[in-house]
Symmetry: C2
Subunit: 367 residues, 2 copies
């Protein structure tokens, strides 16, 4: 077969976002479709690679404030009734760092130039509620802790003492029928770096809640205070270090422009600007688009979504003159919450939960 | 503003499909979004340009088998309650002509290399049923004839005698609340070439049913036998000229691949093949995709649709070797009907209603 070599297309592949090999973002073009393929789905892990799990001896422990502690094999979980739907994930550190604020950002933070620490996939698994019902939650149950098989020194503090990745959910969210113990991603067995054999999928909540390589479920009669629950994934509400923190759970209302990509040259004429919008467990009801850096706004077509997928949106644009343009998108959810024009919690320098309206510079050329 | 001139992007614009300036198709990239912008929406008219309509004297006549004949002004129609939803249009002559069959195709037929005689837009207008209720259909009503302001010698027979574009609907479809008298397309006043001031929008039926430049609605006590109702838009059921014809109404189950475009070079690696699927008033329940010319098939992700929009679908593809590939897509509707592998009605040489599985050749290059 003769193939011309005169022009080579740019390969789509994950982009490393730190030097430790722990985390990778989708390339900008990887965000242009509703389904993110597994090979282009972001990876945000606390330690490099996937922990080794011996499947012959693998058991998922369910214990604590339950009537009947369980030790379930992978096969027992696979034999339970399956649920399958799309869920969009976003890392709460997703998004480029605004310039005014980059200086104070700790060097170990993800280096993200786009919005690729997010993606949408179809997940299959069993309802966590079904497993918890099998064990029987005691009335004393307050929070449910999920333990991953991954552990090591924390990437930020560099403390050589080991920590294990553990996060908790309140009982209400843990018992929601759509909170999954997932074993399949886009029709394939869960890939190792995405949590094989089993990961939590917590629809509408930031990605760090969906614990990978799940080995234990512990029901507590009090709030969980583990390291990754209380020392990370929180934002300062004011400029003082001792200010009260807000802990991130639900993904804030947010939107991104996916087409054209940043830096992509598009022709004068008609072009359909496209993007995605999402808002935790809430519906997005409106996306406004500006093609003049926020001076004027028009309403985008909001397309329907599957399950807990992001919404995709489109905005036909007639652009008659070549030049540089600054595009913006601004989503509003069913509660009436709208993206802010500036980063809302800049005090802690970590950039968590940044749902600001982003400037998206593109170049238009004469066709 | 300094703009680099080193590389120019290809302008998206309509492609003429005949020499008479009557009809234009969307470019292949114009089909890559769910909403087709007005400027890229196909135009399939019987005569060049739009008929002149003097708005000061414009009246929509509603007469025939009704209790109260009406003559409605544009303002009276605009003052009625509006409905707004997406509807996908397809010309029943859409699709490339298979080679084995091109020789016998009449030269006046549309020259279509892609699938661009279709598009999806959000339409706004009033329920035709509301207007017919105002007039009051008599029990004798059988069919409802829609008269456009466009007329001239028929494009195929070249007969200098004038014909007017008229089509009818059975009472049941005319009275469906979603059959619209539309005055708005994608948020804009209906453009002249799309039927300003008023056009019919018949969801799920081929485009020729949605009469443009509507001036008259005539209710008959018998089936309508006008030229464009009985001499066109039909397919022969067998090889003999006197064979019984099937008249086309509902769009057949069909799918197309929109990304990559035909001839587009894509890189080795992960690529999300994308397309559209639709089936008259029925739901599409499945789209299968082949990347090896129909030898093996896998199931695509079918995305939810808005209103009567086409379904969009996506199929993540891992392609490891450079070379030429033949992609195919095959939709199945809720009745269990699936696209055929060959053109089903090749006898009349006009290619109407071709919903076969198309071969979509693409080139994969080493990244």
């Amino acid at each position: 077969m003769v193939v011309s070599k005169t022009r080579s297309a740019q390969k789509l592949e994950l982009i490393p976002t730190n030097e430790g090999g722990r985390s990778f973002a989708s390339p900008p073009k990887g965000l242009q479709t509703a389904i993110t393929p597994n090979e282009l789905f972001y990876i945000r892990n606390h330690w490099k690679g996937a922990p080794e799990i011996a499947m012959a001896s693998y058991r998922l422990a369910v214990d604590g404030e339950v009537d009947l502690p369980l030790h379930l094999t992978y096969e027992e979980i696979r034999a339970m009734p399956a649920r399958r739907f799309q869920v969009t994930f976003e890392c709460c550190g997703n998004g480029p760092v605004p310039e005014y604020w980059a200086k104070q950002t700790r060097s170990v933070m993800e280096k993200v130039s786009g919005h690729g620490i997010m993606g949408n996939a179809e997940w299959a698994g069993v309802s966590l509620a079904q497993v918890l019902d099998k064990a029987g939650l005691k009335p004393s149950a307050v929070s449910v802790v999920f333990t991953g098989a991954d552990h090591g020194p924390d990437e930020v503090v560099g403390d050589p003492s080991e920590v294990t990745y553990e996060r908790s959910l309140p009982v209400e969210k843990a018992m929601h029928p759509d909170t999954l113990l997932a074993y399949e991603m886009n029709g394939e067995e869960l890939p190792p770096l995405h949590g094989y054999p089993l990961r939590l999928v917590v629809p509408g909540w930031y990605g760090m809640c969906s614990v990978k390589w799940l080995v234990g479920i512990h029901v507590l009669d009090h709030e969980f205070d583990g390291f990754y629950q209380t020392e990370r994934y929180r934002v300062m509400n004011g400029p003082d270090a001792d200010t009260f923190y807000t802990y991130l759970t639900r993904m804030k209302v947010k939107s991104i422009i996916t087409g054209p990509s940043i830096g992509e040259a598009i022709p004068t004429g008609t072009y359909v600007v496209a993007g995605a919008a999402w808002s935790g467990e809430d519906d997005v009801v409106k996306v406004d688009v500006s093609t003049d850096g926020g001076k004027t706004w028009g309403q985008a077509h909001l397309l329907p979504r599957a399950g807990y997928s992001w919404y995709r949106w489109e905005y036909p644009w007639e652009v008659l003159s070549a030049g540089g343009y600054v595009l913006m998108s601004r989503a509003t959810n069913a509660r009436g919450e709208t993206q802010p024009m500036e980063f809302p919690n800049k005090w802690d320098g970590l950039g968590y939960g940044n749902n600001m309206v982003f400037a998206h510079a593109v170049e238009v050329r004469d066709a």
